[in-house]
């Protein structure tokens, strides 16, 4: 097995108000994998994500990204390696034009001029938004903004793409378009989601987080068809959806 892109060891964290959100999480993601992080509301998923690029500092345990420990000294490089796409694109797109927003990350890491422009257009191309480079983000549709948010992170050429609820608030067509884009990208993905069909469609492997620990880690199909596990952790398949009746998966 190759060295893991993401290696979380015994991670525990309590918020300043005393609420213990993580109780020793172990998680490995290997290069090229697409992994879904599932769990009910309040399971600690977002808290875990904020540790991956050092926004929150571990109470106990360690996080390594491609062998590099997440510590204060490495923060700038860690944040280039771990690209987080937040849930609300309006939080992520804060500059005047799509181009400036996509350039923000790589420019912070020292890319300039021609190389920067190439990187920006390449990232926009990969999400099919190259024609919108000079538009202000707040004039785009929600689905377009989500795609630009993905591009802002792709432009940093991260080793791992972390998406927080990528399918939330998308109409079915935008949801499928985003899935197509994700499949076309050749990057390691960790996807936090409540959208179980989406997890099944895109991620061969799923990890279930409940009450701050990993309670299941396996093939997404096996996780979703384990009725006892699903019931025990407030995971429910949408009405009419049964993984057992799906013949083959796209991609």
């Amino acid at each position: 097995m190759s060295a893991p892109t993401l290696d979380v060891r015994g991670l525990a964290y309590a918020y300043p108000d005393g609420h213990q959100a993580l109780h020793g999480v172990d998680l490995h993601v290997h290069p090229g994998e697409r992994v879904a992080l599932l769990g009910p509301n309040g399971a600690g998923k977002t808290t875990l994500v904020l540790h991956l690029n050092g926004i929150l500092a571990a109470g106990a345990g360690e996080v390594f990204v491609s062998g590099m420990s997440v510590t204060k000294e490495n923060l700038q490089e860690i944040r280039r390696r771990v690209g987080i796409v937040f849930q609300d694109p309006d939080d992520q797109l804060f500059l005047g034009t799509v181009r400036q927003d996509v350039a923000f990350g790589p420019a912070n890491h020292g890319l300039k001029g021609e190389a920067l422009q190439r990187r920006v257009m390449d990232a926009l191309d990969r999400v099919g938004m190259a024609d919108f480079a000079d538009r202000p983000p707040h004039h785009l549709s929600f689905g377009q903004r989500r795609r630009v948010a993905v591009a802002t992170v792709l432009a940093m050429e991260p080793e791992i793409l972390v998406l927080d609820e990528p399918s939330s608030n998308l109409d079915p067509a935008s949801r499928r378009e985003l899935a197509d884009i994700m499949r076309s990208l050749d990057v390691t993905v960790l996807m936090v989601t409540h959208d179980l069909p989406y997890a099944l469609e895109l991620c061969p492997r799923s990890v279930v987080l409940a009450d701050g620990i990993v309670v299941a880690d396996g093939a997404t199909y096996d996780v979703l068809t384990d009725d006892a596990l699903m019931r025990a952790h407030r995971l429910e398949l949408p009405f009419g959806f049964d993984p057992r009746t799906i013949g083959s998966l796209p991609g």
């Binding site: 944040r79 609300d88 804060f94 004039h139």
Partner: protein, 222 residues
């Protein structure tokens, strides 16, 4: 919710005023406003000259006068105050149209009204002929501190987001039988604005997180 392209105050065009460098326009605006404020309020004729100057600029810019006048409504609170001044000020009183008003108050009210209106009208002309992003660029070239320019940029970016949020909160209030326009419901409106402040504050924190996640270290790349 649907703010169209460009900003609501901007009137697209290709006049010489539109094409002028933003920093020059800002300097002219500031100069003009200082001139208006410095003009003694008894020099009635001078204000005609100011108005004429402004009129010429507006004519060249081809922004319809009605477009600017409609946006003068922001000035209403000052107008109300200016109109009250002749009645509440002290000193010798004179009769105007059979109503006894304070002479000093009348003059002060006139001064406030004319200076305010000219200033707002001139600012509206700048806003109508210059995209917000260009105004920022102009300020940057005039050596406005980077941090202030950044804050103004964020304000422009999120004005629509926050006003859309307020719009949705108002709709939700109306849907539950509360009319924010009626004074009886103003306490609720106050609480709504408080909630909006908290929401905006939290959004600010989320934006900051998203910026840090992309390697922000305190300076926006130019």
């Amino acid at each position: 919710m649907g703010a169209g392209h460009g900003h609501r105050l901007h009137f697209p065009g290709h006049s010489p005023i539109h094409r002028a460098e933003p920093q020059h326009k800002i300097l002219v605006l500031v100069g003009f406003v200082l001139l208006v404020v410095a003009t003694p309020r008894e020099w009635f004729a001078a204000y005609l000259v100011h108005l004429a100057l402004l009129g010429v600029v507006v004519a060249i810019s081809r922004v319809p006068v009605g477009y600017l006048l409609k946006r003068l409504v922001v000035e209403i609170p000052f107008v109300v105050f200016a109109l009250l001044m002749p009645f509440i000020a002290l000193g010798p009183r004179i009769d105007v149209l059979g109503i006894s008003v304070s002479e000093a108050g009348l003059l002060a009210g006139w001064g406030l009204l004319v200076k305010g209106t000219l200033g707002v009208l001139a600012s509206l002309t700048l806003a109508a002929t210059t995209e917000p992003a260009d105004v920022l660029r102009g300020l940057e070239r005039l050596r406005m501190p980077d941090l202030i320019v950044q804050i103004m940029g964020f304000m422009i970016r999120y004005l629509d987001v926050v006003s859309a949020e307020l719009g949705r909160m108002m709709t939700a209030m109306r849907s539950r039988g509360c009319d924010p326009r009626r004074p009886r419901h103003w306490p609720v409106l106050g609480k709504t604005l408080g909630a909006l402040f908290i929401r905006s504050y939290e959004r600010g924190e989320r934006i900051h997180l998203a910026m840090l996640s992309r390697g922000y270290t305190g300076k926006l790349p130019s």
